[in-house]
């Protein structure tokens, strides 16, 4: 399906694209021109990056990773970066018909003209969209078929911690934080080009393989054992035996994004986001993000204050999200929220804490967050329905804490609470899930008692659990979707068994089948690449979208491609691994000690909890010594500098609420 008409030059393809736009849905997503977008002179840059988020514009534009790297790269005099997102099938068909190559939204330059194509994978379900982009760009799907003229395809993001399923399609996978390594990669490419491309693509890839955090799959040979497992992974030539993730310390010195992109089209997050810390040591055993981003590194009170100010001024957003994996855990969260609520008093600027734990949450915090803006629902994630299963997953929030918190919230005027759970967790039985119903019933009862009203709402939202690499559950069998669906059917019955309470409870869950495919892609090895390619050739696109996802296409492709090799969809997903099995990502080092992960898995099976190393002694997960880092938490000794607010001053004097 290669596209032969593409020549490697950099003129804009907009004139060819423009006549197609009136014929597609939401054309504005393809035109660029967002506030704070950058377009640098093509000839001024020695190294040119196209940065892709492999999902729709509305999902990809707010992505912080892409936004950070876009700014970091464009700040360099010798580099430029432009963005691109997945195009919907309606435009893809027209682009094929009219021979318009994949393009960036900034300069509408063809992707094939760039030196590097960086792709950020938050989820494995974006893999088919990578293939669409490569094909539309005229870049050979298989890394082995690429020449000096083709961009180096670099995968990053959390899914890159096991890039083996896309090993055939990417040239490099980068592990960990991107801020610094992206500059080192730029240096390597710049020098190689300046020297006249010595040794061609092979030499460039060898140099990249020698860069910390960069994994070049083609420099590793995988040998399989007769039982279907991996017998050995052997580095070739100079490649290191294992690749360790990158960790950026001192977030205050990386205040990106400084000027967030403001989309013209509607996107999933209409807000300015400020990352208040990175990493999490709560130790939830299902949480890949928490495991692979250790240790905790906080941005200081002053750093947060300055970034929020810059973001609000540069964007005009009326909501600021204070992002992290568990935002209420920031050591200075009370000062941050009070300081920001004071600063934005009367300006209709609201704050949000997207991830908050019940046990780190209090009503003062909630009141500060909603003081200047909208009071939406409160959201908590107990994750497991029973005390027992919460011990297994090490998410130790008690139902008493939850009921106490929501009671107070309902007493303070909130009317809705959302609770997130997972189904299909290791060791889970029907009873563990059915206890969710009782918890939701008690939330409604407590809410009615505290508010004196009948119309309180509780929404329970349930996702299927997918075991991920670099977590204690990397050895766990994934529950089959049929099991999950059956448990959730029983749960719905239990919720509705009490009509008086059940009618105030909403229940949301998705089809469990995409989770099984996500599980295949998450814990797959290189053989899974054939499945991805087959699914893509048969039309697979936008697998994260239920209206595009086809379970039957995936299972048929898995059967056709895997079973001749003696493995299967089930082998990769619902099978429990033993301690000695070589896992496809064992040569990729997230810093976590493998023995510690195994012990934590055994603790999970025994229902034994693990504390947080921020407040208890180090338990030797291995990350700090192996990555040369340390926990960075407050108090920072800084203050949130009071600032004059845009649109504030005398005009907002009458805006403060009474009471």
């Amino acid at each position: 399906m290669g596209l032969p008409w593409i020549s490697v030059t950099a003129p804009s393809v907009f004139a060819d694209l423009e006549p197609l736009l009136p014929r597609v849905a939401k054309p504005v997503q393809y035109v660029g021109g967002e506030l704070n977008a950058q377009l640098k002179d093509w000839e001024s840059a020695a190294v040119r990056w196209a940065l892709m988020y492999p999902d729709a514009y509305e999902v990809g534009l707010p992505n912080q990773g892409v936004m950070i790297l876009y700014e970091v790269l464009n700040e360099r005099a010798d580099a430029l970066a432009e963005r691109c997102y997945a195009v919907w099938p309606d435009l893809e068909a027209l682009m094929r018909e009219h021979r318009v190559p994949a393009f960036t939204v900034d300069g509408h330059r063809p992707l094939g003209a760039f030196d590097l194509l960086g792709v950020s994978f938050s989820t494995e379900l974006g893999y088919t969209n990578l293939l669409t982009a490569l094909d539309l760009a005229g870049i050979p799907l298989h890394a082995v078929d690429r020449t000096d003229e083709h961009p180096v395809v670099v995968a990053g993001g959390h899914a890159a911690f096991n890039p083996e399923p896309i090993a055939d399609f990417v040239d490099v996978a980068v592990l960990g934080d991107g801020e610094e390594v992206v500059g080192e990669i730029t240096d390597v490419v710049r020098d190689w080009k300046a020297q006249g491309r010595p040794g061609g693509r092979a030499e460039l890839l060898a140099r990249l393989a020698a860069t910390d955090g960069c994994y070049v799959p083609s420099m590793y040979e995988v040998e399989y054992a007769p039982d279907g497992g991996i017998a050995a992974v052997r580095p070739r030539e100079s490649a290191p035996a294992s690749v360790t993730k990158r960790t950026t310390s001192d977030l205050d010195s990386w205040p990106y994004p400084k000027a967030p992109l403001v989309p013209l089209a509607e996107t999933v997050h209409e807000r300015a986001s400020v990352e208040i810390f990175r990493g999490c040591t709560r130790g939830c055993r299902f949480c890949q993000a928490g495991m692979i981003t250790r240790p905790v590194r906080e941005r200081s009170l002053r750093g947060v204050g300055e970034m929020v100010d810059a973001a609000v001024r540069a964007s005009g957003f009326d909501e600021v999200g204070l992002l992290s994996l568990s935002s209420a855990d920031h050591s200075e969260i009370a000062e941050i929220t009070k300081g920001l609520a004071d600063r934005y008093e009367g300006t209709n600027t609201s704050l949000s804490l997207p991830s908050t734990r019940v046990d780190a949450f209090n009503i003062d915090l909630a009141n500060e967050i909603s003081r200047n803006g909208r009071r939406s629902g409160l959201t908590f994630a107990p994750e497991g329905g029973s005390e027992r299963i919460r011990r297994v997953i090490n998410k130790m929030v008690s139902e008493e804490d939850l009921i106490r918190t929501v009671s107070e919230a309902f007493a303070q005027g909130w009317r809705q609470v959302k609770l997130y759970f997972m189904c299909g967790l290791p060791t889970e039985e029907d009873e563990d899930v059915l206890e969710i119903a009782g918890m939701a019933h008690r939330v409604i009862q407590a809410g009615r008692a505290a508010s004196g009203r009948n119309d309180v709402r509780c929404t329970i939202s349930i996702g299927g659990f997918v075991p991920k690499p670099h977590t204690p559950f990397q050895w766990a069998p994934q529950a089959h979707p049929d099991v999950v669906d059956e448990r959730l059917r029983k749960l719905r019955e239990a919720v509705n068994s009490n009509r008086k309470l059940g009618r105030n409870i909403g229940m949301r869950y998705h089809d469990g089948r995409p989770s099984l495919i996500e599980g295949l892609l998450a814990r797959g090895d290189r053989r899974v690449g054939r499945v991805i390619e087959r699914v893509w050739r048969e039309g697979g696109r936008f697998d994260g979208w239920s209206e595009h996802f086809s379970y039957d296409r995936w299972t048929a492709a898995a059967q056709a491609e895997l079973e001749p090799l003696g493995v299967s969809l089930e082998w990769f997903t619902t099978r429990e691994r033993d301690r000695d099995e070589i896992l496809p990502w064992d040569h990729l080092d997230s810093g976590l000690d493998r023995d510690w992960l195994w012990d934590d898995w055994q603790d999970a099976l025994a229902g034994t909890e693990q504390d947080d190393c921020r407040w208890t002694p180090c338990f030797d997960c291995g990350v700090c010594p192996s990555t040369g880092t340390d926990i960075e938490v407050g108090p920072s000794g800084t203050t949130l500098i009071p600032l004059t607010v845009v649109g504030g001053g005398p005009t907002s004097g009458g805006a403060s609420a009474g009471g």
Binding site: L21, P22, A265, R313, G316, A655, A657, G659
Partner: protein
Amino acid sequence: MARVRPGEAANPAPPTVQRVRMRFAKRGRLRFLSHRDVARSFERAVRRAGVPVAHSHGFSPHPRLSWIGAAPTGSASEAEYVEIGLTRPMEPAELAAALDAALPAGLDVLDAAVAEGAALADRIDASRWRVELPGVEPHELLAALDALLATDSLIVERVTPSGRRNIDVRAALVRAEVDPPAPGDAPVEAVPPDGTPGAGRTCAIMTAVVRQTTPAVRPDDVLGALDVVAGLRPPAPAKATRMAQGLLDHRGDLADPLGSDRVTTRN
């Protein structure tokens, strides 16, 4: 410190003391903005510019921006209108400059006046459109327009979110003409007002004045009518630009909604 308590208004807002009406353009690539996209861009620009915009009350306060019939997604415009409520009086020119600087290039504020007299909606009952038809010869367009204008009624069907609607294009069409070709009989080059380079081929240009009806007759509907009546099918997508809105006078010209006594010229 302000704490919201149950039963209180979340944000008692200062009152509106002045309303300013503005004409703005939607140009170039930004013609692909939908009305909602335009509205969001203005709301953010108002905040970035520090404009003392009034807000609605309640738990979910919104800036007070009132819109008049937006140009469809994909159509450019030199004549869109919005009215902004302010909590403190501002010079209209100062407001226009501040907002223009805060808006993305392609959303350009062109004119502003303090709102007085009749409501904006009562000052607009028609639009003048300029439609470029790349690949269409001016004489083909002329013949099609003659055929359309010779009818009393011409119904086209449009699929709307609420179902199929029949729209009488002819009834809403006040005037339609082919713009004269460039001097020297050279092929007319498509150069829209924003200077985007055209296709460099033959391009007929139509000017049409359309009365506001419900649902509004759009340039696409006029083109649909030309297909029905004369089989005119442009080989490439047409580019439409709304050039003016206002009250129709007896000659079919439009009165400027921002000035009670100014009248726009016909070109």
